[in-house]
């Protein structure tokens, strides 16, 4: 798989977040994943697993604990996929 762009990653995150966003809150790069969207700690693992499987990466937990927004998540994945 060629290296995804940050925008492609953003689109993928939005797709995976769909089931947890029943009220269709607008998802922006600056949206807080757990603070602005209705994602709880169980759903977050579904999201992280979905992204890890899709991009064949492993997001280390110390990185996860620092990620608050959709944009930060996209940046982290971008970094991991370009390694």
């Amino acid at each position: 798989m060629s290296e995804p762009t940050r925008e492609e990653i953003y689109d993928k995150i939005c797709e995976l977040l769909k089931p947890y966003n029943p009220k269709n809150h607008p998802i922006k790069m600056s949206s807080g994943i757990m603070s602005d969207l209705e994602v709880d700690s169980v759903a977050v693992f579904d999201l992280v697993m979905g992204l890890e499987d899709h991009y064949d990466i492993s997001i280390p937990m110390e990185m996860v604990s620092d990620i608050k927004t959709v944009g930060e998540l996209a940046t982290a994945i971008k970094e991991l996929t370009s390694e």
Binding site: D40, E62, S65, I67
Partner: protein
């Protein structure tokens, strides 16, 4: 590619009959068994036979003796890697007290994790903290204001080499554990060589009746008693091979747990109910499993909930999961780990009772055809108490109850902890002078088996997580952008499988715009810090009920809420009493 350690010892099985962990490892090191670490896709990463664990631990202990005085506390990041086992055992050979520390788990949870860590370091009076280099920045930042050195595992391995060992003896301490208490005020449970030995022996010889063919599989975190005692120390003291996966990998790929059992013929493995639930939810029917070797599928750590377990049985029964494999058990870190086990082969012994009667008379009376369905609730028997230990069910005046009368579960025996580290107040509240522990849990007898009906009075159980209401209240008060009064959080929907977590917050203002700001900020903070959806209601000042000693009475506030006697400041008309529809 290397192979995992075999199930066969090559020497006689000993059921944890050692006076210290060092003696136990000295013996295990003469066997062929040991620890095996797998990745999230069930590939073997590292093999650590007990012989190598002992060799490395002894080598490192010689470096630790000059580094710290006997009985100094070492905070140890409880990662599921060989380094943790080596460092934990090195502390034993060096006479240092390891305190396994939790790891950051939630997305964006770094802030609250650092605060929790800081409090643990405070209450444990740590001499130093050891962690993998990847966690060093978080640990150092958490301990910013304290003069506690943070050493990476590499740093520790490069400490100057000493000459001597200083192993703990039978009367010494063993570890400090933080699985009790809220993250806002953690309590360190003291484990001694004697309490740990007694419990490991009881679990191995009686609770699980370990035999020559047993092999353990575990995803449980090692900072929790079920992971540390159940799946690291008990196997070590009984020379059993263990296949580990990281708890993070389990949460992301739970089926890997079952895959390991299938691949390596695991016989003993435990999980809280939610772990079994997660497997059912994530099963994709994309592989073949053979779970017929799994003789004991233990359930512990939270309330045993029969419905998800029955679903697991139905689904994985077709893949060899045995009818009687489920083994409900009960215990807590204050009793090292385990106190009761269901008899082998019993499976889920269910008891459906009339909850209306339960609440009215504190009796567990079997439901009949006439009991309305909404008043029925099914509990599962957690088995018989270990030999040499005693359980009593008592009422609030300390009278011993019998039969179906519900009361406080009290425990006595050699597995009991001597108390909480440097916390006399908490110790005296839970441990009586005559050697009994008041668990704070509620239960009754079903013949000679214990049934647990509720864990701790205020503790909220949500998707297998223990959540302390004070953590939610604390986060709410910290997040409110305008001055707020007291907060009160409690669970709705029964004992053990809460449907909804309620949060009431007293506000000084009645301005709708300010209230809206408070509402949004608090909701966002709770999702981020606690990771649990709550139902927030802003209430007028003076709503909460305070006891004579100045403590919040959550039970009475909840009662008031259920009666519809609490105002909602954001309701269309503020005089409308709401709450009745959610009762």
């Amino acid at each position: 590619m290397s192979l995992p350690t075999p199930t066969t010892r090559g020497k006689a099985l000993r059921h944890g009959d050692f006076a210290t962990l060092c003696e136990a490892l000295d013996y295990a090191a003469t066997c062929q068994t040991g620890f095996n670490y797998f990745d999230g896709k069930a590939n073997l990463v590292t093999v650590l036979p007990y012989s190598e664990l002992r060799e490395k631990a002894v080598e490192l202990a010689k470096r630790l003796v000059p580094f710290a005085e006997k009985n100094a506390r070492i905070g140890l990041a409880a990662v599921s890697t060989p380094e943790f086992a080596v460092m934990f055992m090195a502390c034993q050979y060096a006479g240092l007290v390891p305190a396994p520390l939790p790891l950051p788990v939630t997305l964006g949870g770094r802030g609250s994790y650092e605060r929790q860590l800081e409090r643990m370091a405070d209450t444990g009076d740590f001499h130093a903290l050891f962690c993998p280099s990847s966690m060093e920045p978080i640990m150092s930042s958490a301990l910013n204001d304290q003069a506690i050195p943070v050493l990476t595992f590499e740093d520790v391995n490069n400490l100057p080499q000493g000459e001597i060992l200083r192993p703990f003896t039978a009367d010494d301490l063993c570890y400090i554990q933080y699985s009790s208490g809220s993250s806002s005020s953690p309590k360190g449970i003291i484990g001694t060589q004697a309490s740990v030995s007694a419990n490991c022996h009881g679990i191995s010889k009686h609770g699980l009746a370990v035999n020559e063919d047993d092999r353990c599989t575990s995803w449980l975190p090692l900072y929790h008693d079920m992971g540390l005692i159940g799946f690291m120390l008990t196997p070590l003291t009984s020379q059993i091979s263990v296949d580990f996966i990281d708890p993070q990998d389990f949460t992301r790929r739970p089926i890997t747990w079952l895959q390991l059992i299938s691949d390596h013929k695991g016989t003993l493995s435990y999980s809280p109910t939610f772990g079994y639930e997660l497997c059912v939810r994530r099963w994709r029917d994309d592989r073949e499993l053979n779970l017929s070797s799994w003789r004991t599928a233990g359930i512990g750590g939270d309330m045993v909930r029969p419905e998800p377990l029955t679903e697991f049985q139905d689904l994985f029964g077709t893949m060899g999961f045995g009818e009687g494999a489920f083994t409900p058990s009960y215990g807590l870190a204050e009793t090292t780990l385990a106190a009761t086990f269901a008899p082998p082969g019993q499976g889920l012994l269910k008891h459906t009772i009339d909850m209306e009667r339960y609440e009215r008379t504190s009796e567990a009376v079997e439901a009949t055809d006439l009991t309305p369905e909404e008043n029925q609730r099914t509990f599962v028997a957690c088995g018989k108490v270990l030999p040499d230990h005693k359980i009593e069910i008592r009422d609030f005046d300390n009278n011993v109850l019998s039969g179906n009368q519900v009361g406080r579960i009290c425990l006595k025996g050699p597995s009991l902890s001597p108390g909480y580290f440097q916390n006399t107040q908490a110790t005296e509240a839970a441990f009586s002078a005559d050697g009994w522990l008041d668990t704070g849990d509620l239960g009754y007898w079903l013949e000679d088996q214990l049934v647990v009906t509720g864990r701790f009075k205020d503790l909220i159980l949500w998707h297998g997580r223990n959540i302390w209401p004070q953590d939610i209240e604390w986060a709410a008060q910290a997040a409110a952008p305008h001055r707020c009064g007291r907060a009160c959080s409690f669970a709705m929907g029964g004992a053990g499988d809460e449907k909804e977590v309620m949060l009431l917050l007293e506000c000084r203002t009645r301005d709708p715009q300010l209230l809206d700001e408070i509402y949004k900020a608090v909701m966002a903070a709770i999702r981020l810090e606690v990771g649990v959806p709550v139902r927030l209601q802003l209430v007028p000042r003076g709503t909460m009920i305070i006891t004579s000693s100045g403590k919040l009475s959550r039970a009475r506030v909840k009662d008031k809420y259920l009666k519809g006697a609490i105002l909602d400041l954001q309701a269309e008309s503020p005089v409308t009493v709401i709450g009745a529809e959610t009762a």
